[in-house]
């Protein structure tokens, strides 16, 4: 229904766009700059995308900088028509059909797992600047205002990790591509706003490639024998922000009034997402 409303509004908006340009509000407009992620993100980098992709001293791709995008889109929109129906196990299909916005833990400022760590808000990769780096971090500006730790020292996943919101991530370089393998994820978060279910068997394999100076491509293979009939792959794109932009503080839980205007009260902590 939400998508239908969005689609209908978009069509109506296109139809009146030209007329609307003539009917702007009487007050003077402020100059606008192109911002990534709607208005949330940093100003887009103005560098030539065809500049060489930077490298660190050890020859690996330099992923530092401020990025926006690269995750967060609703997975069904990234799939081929009919693919979602083939992928979901019956119980997952049934659960997804009952989920609404107001049940999404992300709406109450809880983390959204690795795929929603990136999105319209700014975020960074932080690479250790020496050879044989032990970690790469992802710093998230919003919404949980958290970090993700990716082990780069060759360690394996633990045998039976305690499930967490961001899981256990190990990374390696395959040429210019950073490959991140993640298990140990809990089932308390939603992968995206569509409410596609997953279980603690979720396994993500991300392939991050800086395809040009201002673009970071992320292909993610999503595997979960508890919820899906087969692995599938989705792709996201992040864009580089201006070099002088910074991530900012954003404490989502400070004053979250989600739901009050529509007459729902936030659920008690720990009761969301199932």
């Amino acid at each position: 229904m939400r998508r239908l409303i969005f689609f209908s509004l978009s069509i109506a908006a296109l139809a009146i766009a030209l007329a609307a340009a003539q009917a702007a509000p009487p007050a003077q407009e402020q100059p606008r700059v192109f911002r990534l992620g709607g208005a949330n993100g940093p100003e887009a980098a103005s560098e030539d995308p065809n500049r060489p992709v930077p490298k660190l001293a050890d020859g690996t791709t330099d992923l530092s900088g401020i990025w926006a995008g690269g995750g967060g889109e609703e997975i069904p929109r990234l799939l081929k028509p009919g693919e979602l129906d083939q992928i979901l196990q019956p119980w997952a299909k049934k659960l997804m059909s009952t989920r609404t916005d107001g049940m999404d833990p992300y709406q109450y400022c809880m983390p959204g797992g690795p795929l929603r760590l990136t999105g319209g808000f700014a975020w960074r990769f932080v690479q250790h600047p020496t050879v044989n780096a032990r970690y790469i971090f992802q710093l998230q500006e919003a919404s949980a205002h958290t970090y993700r730790q990716i082990f780069m020292d060759g360690r394996k996943h633990p045998e039976d990790p305690t499930p967490t919101w961001l899981g256990h991530s190990i990374g390696r370089w395959e040429g210019p591509t950073l490959v991140i393998d993640t298990i140990g994820l809990n089932d308390k978060f939603w992968l995206d706003g569509s409410g596609i279910p997953h279980t603690e068997q979720l396994h993500l394999i991300e392939r991050w490639t800086r395809t040009n100076y201002t673009t970071l491509k992320r292909d993610v293979t999503i595997e979960d024998p508890g919820a899906y009939t087969r692995p599938f792959t989705v792709s996201y794109t992040a864009k580089l922000g201006t070099p002088d932009s910074e991530i900012m503080e954003y404490i989502c839980i400070e004053n979250n009034q989600y739901g009050l205007a529509q007459g729902i009260q936030p659920p008690a902590k720990g009761e969301t997402g199932k």
Binding site: A23, A27, L260, G263
Partner: protein
Amino acid sequence: MKKTLWVLAAGLALCMAAPLAAHHSWTADYDGGKPVTVKGVVSKVEWTNPHTHFYVDVKNPDGTVKTWNFEMASTLALERAGWTRKTLPVGAEVTIGGFGGRAVTERAIAASITTADGKALFVGKPGQ
């Protein structure tokens, strides 16, 4: 007619606000078919996240005052667009247009703000 077109234009701005980027889908809380415009005085500012809130006291014809709670973009979106927490202070006279809450009309989302001197302020995109 111009007003209608402006409301539709505001709808365009709202619905084109990339939902993937938003913290919330604004249409869950607010009704795009419920346009509102009020003129009043800012009585309280919540410079907070995930969204800012501006409370506006509006005088009714009978002399009573109703306080509206307008949700706005995040502090990040506003500060990156040049706002500070003092851009729209308590006591400022404003005209705010937007859309009413699905259950509580006076909990609305702002789509336009015009100050007493006719200046239009950037309001960001709902849900951000």
